[in-house]
Symmetry: C2
Subunit: 291 residues, 2 copies
């Protein structure tokens, strides 16, 4: 019993974040003893002390700077690159066995990407956020290869669900319609892969429990135009009359298609989403109604 | 005069290294006021104090961990990634205008690379050294883009010349033949681009003085089989009888071809080597004779 628990001790960073708050439950249901990080990871000595005391077998590293909009260009991305590498070095030095980090679709080259495949789509991040995440992946992968630590990097695509920042796409449409206000949108032709945040957490827990190596896209595998998402929300709320598609101009930097190949996630990790997009949106609308 | 000098103050890191020791002269001949870094860059507060005091206009950053053989896998690569980013953040914060960093051909994907082109050959480093250099390039490029700092990354290929570690290819052949010992080599079919270290320094000074952005290969543009280099050395020394090509097995990790596209360096930076390979080898042999 004790030996068994010893081999399933996972440190979860970013445990109170948008994705992280859903992870502990999925990890526990897979038999992990979950330790949510509570120290300041930007303080190297606190990180070192935590790892030396806990000596986790696995590390699911989600913590990062995530202030709405600002995270794309913030200097804090460089701090988190550095802090993450320090954390990982301490983890490997303390006998850690399995690492999973949270990457992003912003690591791919959006000027050529459309349907993003882990093996063939080039990485060439256009943002500070994407660059620092990709830089961490490169260095972390090299570190884990050197020390024989099992390594995977889950590239998250577009997420929605409870606790999302109200200015982002899904909450802004839901919020407007629930307040009986016009929901002003672009034409919504952009094709995207949207995944419920609780399913993203479930996928990361599955990835941690596997021994799959390298980059794995974390996405639903079902890509739709944004206008379909807006229309589904409007139908569920019963206010299709307030949906103003085309009221906002398209952002020139928005690629027409940004979707995820999910073959690795489905076939190698063996994970599929537990909800349809419609079910996830219904749950999210209920959450906002109650909020 | 004072204002003119003010705009040409360059901080040179790694100024006592294999490449760096040749840089100051080339920079000075181009009108730069050269400040060789003498603080410990792995100490963040020393770095910060240096930059705040000097307030350099330009930064030519060559300092890195470079112990023979060990540098490919050493953990110090992670320290230098972090220290380099800290240095660059202080430089941009203090009003720095132009940054040039030293990259490496080990950033390219050697499993697919042959003739390496900056724009089309994929990067996918197989070593800790290559991964940390490439990670630094990604983060540094993003940082400079954000703050409007002019940015170039000179990817060095194969260098030779004075002060090279005696176990490396050129010095080991030269040393054996000068001691009248057999020079045991592989068959030497590997095609490589070798550049004299003083020409590499000259190219980096030219790159710093330009406003070319992004990755630029630093190489001669003349690729030859290693056996031709060995034969030239043997002819110059007059001991072709001691050259044992094929006496050592090929290293399975050695790509058959690893050469550099030099179109950017020649046409955009406007730089070409000052010596032929034969002239560079003669100078290097003379240096070893006198050493």
């Amino acid at each position: 019993m004790a030996a068994d628990r010893l081999n399933k001790r996972v440190l979860l960073t970013g445990a109170s974040g948008f994705v992280g708050r859903h992870c502990a439950r999925h990890l526990e249901s897979r038999g992990w003893e979950v330790h949510a990080q509570r120290v300041d990871l930007l303080n190297p000595s606190e990180t070192s002390a935590l790892i030396r005391e806990l000596r986790p077998d696995a590390l699911l590293h989600l913590a990062w700077y995530s202030k709405h909009r600002l995270y794309w260009t913030a200097d804090e991305n460089f701090d988190w690159l550095n802090a993450s590498l320090h954390l990982l070095r301490e983890f490997t030095a303390a006998g850690g066995k399995r690492f999973v980090g949270a990457g992003t679709c912003a690591e791919y080259d959006w000027s050529v990407a459309g349907h993003c495949d882990e093996a063939t789509t080039p990485s060439n991040p256009a943002t500070v956020y994407g660059a620092c995440k990709y830089a961490l992946h490169l260095a972390a992968n090299a570190l884990c290869r050197k020390y024989g630590v099992s390594y995977a990097w889950g590239r998250l695509f577009f997420l929605y669900g409870p606790d999302e920042h109200p200015e982002r796409f899904v909450p802004s449409v839901v919020g407007s319609l629930l307040r009986s206000e016009t929901a002003r949108c672009t034409s919504g032709e952009q094709i995207r892969d949207f995944l419920h945040v609780d399913d993203a957490a479930s996928a990361l827990a599955a990835l941690l429990g596997s021994d799959i190596q390298g980059v794995v896209n974390i996405a639903s595998g079902t890509a739709v135009p944004l206008r379909d998402i807006a229309r589904t929300i409007a139908r569920v709320i019963g206010r299709e009359d307030l949906l103003a598609l085309g009221a906002l101009p398209m952002n020139a930097n928005d690629p027409p298609v940004l979707t995820a190949a999910t073959g690795r996630l489905r076939n190698e990790v063996g994970w599929t989403p537990s909800r349809t997009l419609r079910q996830g949106l219904e749950q999210t609308i209920d959450w906002w109604r109650a909020a």
